[in-house]
């Protein structure tokens, strides 16, 4: 009996030991032998570098090459780039000034050759061609606008004359796409695609989502289907019967309609090219297969607009895209030796990075220049699932305390002062000092971010600055809050601001005169200034008809136009009201040269003057390298890269450069973009064009004079806004409201001691 008991115990112990060994064997790193075995069985997995002990690295990734285009877009229009029935890429162009015949270049995989097929001479010279498509038997179909700007469709071939196909049902609709398939001509309009016979007879209409512009190429024809954008996803129509077969959900979301679709050759597979990359949808598939990761290529750059994707003959892809109003043709080819996934990951964290175009641009360019680095941009707000800003910061702090934070922080809205004091931020003096010395950074901007001990913990990547426009006499009264209030009191019938909520006026003027309100050295409120601010805002608001809140019936029953909550954003533009005579001056917060197109028009027409306001500027995209990050060296390199001229020279309309070399490139930039708005109740209008070189110089010259950075403390701002409500509602005096703000600010300051 006793023996049996012991036997049971021994068996149990053996089983326990065996289970433990088996469980533990699953943990830990693979041995070298195992790696070798894997290497033999997986052809695409190799050990990287000379060190055979390293983890095997999967290889094979699409890489991009830019194909030089045969035309200079300063003098030529690129009409379309299409694939000929023989499989060659053809570029149709036309001289911008001289007009003349359409020119055709063919690409043989290495060079473009000018060719002159017979049909080219048959195309009239006084038309503007928008789309071109080949039929399988070599007939060229084209859409164009005639001299009266009417949309037309025509066909031409070597053996047949240029023939206009009658389009009686189009009326004023815009043609957005053209395809030719076995069932007919597919002519996409704003809300539907018409299937036409060769004589213009409409066979059927296939409804789809608004294509909105002729830049939308999210249509494709596969062997039996026509794909078009819908509300829920891409709609697959049976091309012959017009029957809706299925809806394929978008890959990224509705913005996919600004991507491009392309058939994958024979069969029903097709590709989508968007900012997230190139993706394939198999026939009867449900999941997008990403072939090219957009974040590792230029497709992810905010400066790039995808126009058209085409497939090559060797599992390669061509993407025609527009950057800075110029065409690029990018060729994506598979490189079997390139590691599939970069070995280093650099993480960048910020509260709201989804709109930070400069950072995204820099990330794409940096990854292209450093294929072994992957940059992960973490948008704190969306990553935390939309919780409050305070809670988002708390989650970030937990990571930082545990040494798991990002390598780079975008400090906008984060407690930068506290991070600096706690040793979270690394000193960047070495790279910043070098850049200032070599003239790559504005010293008047960078100087403001030097600490007393010479360290630099944060630096802006872009800057935005205010200019004030109006009659010369009026502009002299805006240097301080007191001046503004006095001037408004002296001219009570001439509002200085546009009609808005008190809160919005308060936010704008608290932002603009922030350095008057808060001591930049200590970060504390200047005694008595809150009261001045509140009284100034009240004076301005009373003059323009401001209210605490506007009702639905305000503005003649239209939308509650003056009541929107603009948060802490300064989106000032009063040029329209200044020009219309309903306000005394206009303050424009400028992010790019484009922002001055309309103001310059007003200046020209009314003889206004313009001045920069108090040397102040908004420091945007403040970067700091964390001392707890794993890739400090790469992080420093990246900061230098962002501040370098390659990134700074891009005008993404999110701020001016901090790099003088990049500003020189901005100075040279030209644009054909124009904008016009009419002044209500009259025939008058403002029409803005790209400023002349002298004006660009004047504007960019302000960057040398900026010396007064506005770095908002979100907590203080919210205190000012919340505690002043009673004053504007009429339940408190300015002194009481200011005292309430100052009391809370004292509490806030005392916490930091």
């Amino acid at each position: 009996m006793k023996q049996n008991h012991w036997r049971k115990r021994i068996t149990a112990c053996i089983l326990l030991a065996a289970m433990t060994v088996l469980s533990v064997s699953g943990c830990g790193n693979k041995t070298q032998d195992e790696s070798k075995t894997n290497q033999e069985t997986t052809s695409q997995t190799e050990t990287s570098g000379a060190n055979a002990n390293q983890e095997p690295v999967a290889k094979g990734r699409y890489v991009e090459h830019k194909i030089e285009l045969p035309v200079d877009e300063d003098s030529m229009w690129i009409l379309d780039i299409v694939k000929s029935p023989e499989g060659n890429f053809q570029l149709f162009a036309k001289d911008k000034n001289a007009g003349g015949p359409v020119q055709l270049y063919e690409y043989n995989g290495s060079v473009w050759t000018l060719i002159t097929p017979d049909y080219l001479s048959k195309i009239p010279q006084n038309i503007y061609i928008s789309h071109i498509a080949y039929s399988s038997d070599g007939i060229v179909y084209l859409t164009y606008r005639d001299a009266e700007y009417k949309e037309k469709l025509a066909k031409v071939s070597d053996t047949a004359d240029f023939t206009v196909i009658p389009l009686e049902e189009i009326s004023k609709d815009m043609i957005t796409n053209l395809h030719v398939s076995k069932s007919g001509i597919l002519l996409s309009l704003m809300w539907n695609t018409m299937v036409l016979e060769d004589d213009g007879t409409v066979l059927r209409r296939l409804p789809h989502k608004s294509a909105q512009s002729d830049n939308c190429f999210s249509f494709a024809v596969t062997e039996d289907s026509f794909l078009a954008p819908g509300d829920q996803g891409f709609i697959r129509y049976n091309e012959v019967t017009g029957e809706e077969k299925e809806i394929i959900p978008y890959q990224s979301g509705e913005e996919d309609i600004y991507g491009s679709l392309a058939a994958a050759g024979e069969g029903e597979d097709f590709y989508l090219c968007n900012s997230a990359g190139i993706h394939r949808m198999m026939e009867n598939g449900t999941i997008w297969e990403t072939i090219v990761d957009g974040s590792l290529t230029s497709l992810g750059m905010p400066s790039i607009n995808i126009k058209k994707m085409m497939t090559g003959s060797d599992n390669d892809y061509y993407v025609w895209c527009i950057e800075n109003e110029k065409s690029n043709l990018i060729h994506f080819t598979y490189d079997a030796d390139m590691p599939s996934v970069p070995s280093k990951t650099l993480t960048i964290y910020g509260l709201n990075l989804s709109d930070n175009k400069t950072l995204r641009q820099a990330a794409s360019l940096f990854q292209m220049a450093n294929p072994d680095v992957k940059i992960e941009i973490i948008d704190g707000h969306s990553d935390a699932g939309g919780i409050s800003v305070s809670d988002t910061i708390r989650s970030l702090n937990t990571e930082l305390v545990n040494g798991k934070g990002a390598d780079i922080l975008v400090l906008d809205g984060l407690p930068a002062r506290s991070y600096k004091e706690k040793g979270i931020l690394e000193d960047m003096q070495k790279i910043i000092g070098e850049m200032i010395e070599s003239g790559e950074l504005y010293d008047n901007v960078a100087d403001k971010f030097y600490e007393e001990d010479g360290a630099v913990y944060q630096i802006p990547t872009r800057i935005s600055f205010p200019v004030i426009i109006g009659n010369e006499e009026d502009l002299r009264h805006f240097s301080t809050l007191e001046d503004i209030a006095q001037y408004q009191n002296a001219n009570p019938d001439k509002p200085i601001t546009s009609k808005a909520r008190y809160e919005n006026i308060l936010r704008e003027y608290a932002n603009l005169y922030y350095t008057e309100l808060v001591n930049p050295e200590t970060g504390q409120l200047v005694p008595g200034k809150v009261k001045t601010l509140l009284e100034t805002v009240k004076t301005l608001g009373d003059a323009c008809g401001a209210k605490v809140i506007f009702g639905e019936s305000e503005n003649d029953g239209r939308l509650n136009a003056f009541g929107f909550d603009q948060g802490n954003r300064i989106k000032m533009s009063g040029i329209y009201d200044l020009y219309g005579g309903s306000r005394l001056i206009s303050i424009e917060m400028l992010n790019s040269i484009n922002d001055m197109m309309l103001p310059y028009s007003a200046i020209d027409k009314r003889g206004y003057s313009m001045e920069q306001l108090n040397g102040s500027y908004l420091a945007l995209g403040m970067l700091g390298v964390t001392s707890t990050g794993k890739e400090k060296e790469t992080a420093m390199e990246f900061v230098r890269f962002v501040l370098g001229s390659q990134v700074q020279s891009s005008d993404l309309r999110d701020g001016f450069p901090v790099n003088p070399e990049a500003v020189d490139q901005w100075q040279e930039k030209t644009s054909e973009y124009s904008v016009a708005i009419s002044v209500s109740g009259s025939d008058d209008y403002l029409d803005g064009y790209w400023p002349e070189p002298e004006r660009r110089q004047e504007l960019l010259g302000y960057l040398n004079t900026l010396n007064n950075p506005i770095i908002l403390d979100g907590v203080l701002m919210e205190m000012i806004i919340n505690e002043s409500k009673g004053y504007f509602e009429g339940t408190q005096t300015a002194a009481q409201a200011a005292a309430a703000v100052e009391n809370k600010a004292k509490l806030y300051e005392a916490e930091q001691q």
């Binding site: 305070s390 910061i393 708390r394 702090n397 930082l400 305390v401 040494g403 407690p415 506290s418 991070y419 004091e421 706690k422 040793g423 979270i424 707890t628 907590v715 919210e718 205190m719 919340n722 505690e723 409500k725 009673g726 509602e729 339940t731 309430a740 009391n743 809370k744 509490l747 806030y748 005392a750 916490e751 930091q752 001691q753």
Partner: protein, 292 residues
Amino acid sequence: MRRNNNRKRNNRNRKEAGGAYAFLLPSLLGTALFVVLPYAELIRRSFCSSIGREFVGLRNYIQVLNNTTFRLAVFNTCRFLIVCIPLLLLLSLFTAVMISGLKEKGNTYKTTLLLPMAVPVASIVLLWRVIFHSQGLLNQVTAILGAEPVDWINGSTAFGVLVFTYIWKNLGYDMILWLAGLSSISDQQYEAARVDGAGAFSCFWYITMPGLKKTMVLTAALSLFNSFKVFREAYLLAGDYPNESIYMLQHLFNNWFLSLDIQKMSAASVLLLLAIAVPVLIYNRMQGRNID
């Protein structure tokens, strides 16, 4: 023979103790991992710089004790506890005694007083804003009486609003605890007292109160713990920086975490731990002596 018996008994005791330890081990490990270790880390951090890299001695404690916001928060928290807990205990005991006197008829009142427990905090906050806002319902009522509008939540009345919120939410819960205590007191005691000529007050003072002694300790302890939860309401009603009168320790800790002042939080937490643990230990010691 006796020595053999002793040895057997010792072996048996040792085996039993081993078994007990084996059963206790998981919970011991859990406590060590989730309570003891974090506390040890907290104590370590209270002597270190913000991200725990260098030893700074007592600097954090000195900073915390000299910090005016810490002193304000301690004062407010103590004031809240001193006002709320006795008030809640008295009110809930009063309602419990009243309801128990009603027997079956008291169920409706019981349910009514328990309802606030079922209302989510977010709804309470919304309701309170509707009532206590400067343009809210309360001010509409006081305006009829000719009073000026008052910002109840952000003004000096904020403390009263918070006390009211706490009492309103916890009254039903404490009342149930008291009712449970009351039900354990035998009716025969009251009958015997009445036969001896005791009145209602005497019955309450000499039978009910002694009978509720244990319940009182439990109810007071639970009320104390629930009082810490009132921060949710205070935070949702008035934000990170409320009126000074309701600026509690949790506000300070929350804001310190936001500015990454982990070292100050740790030191303040250790001080709080001592402030709670020392009286408890003294009380336990005294209890032990009484038993002896």
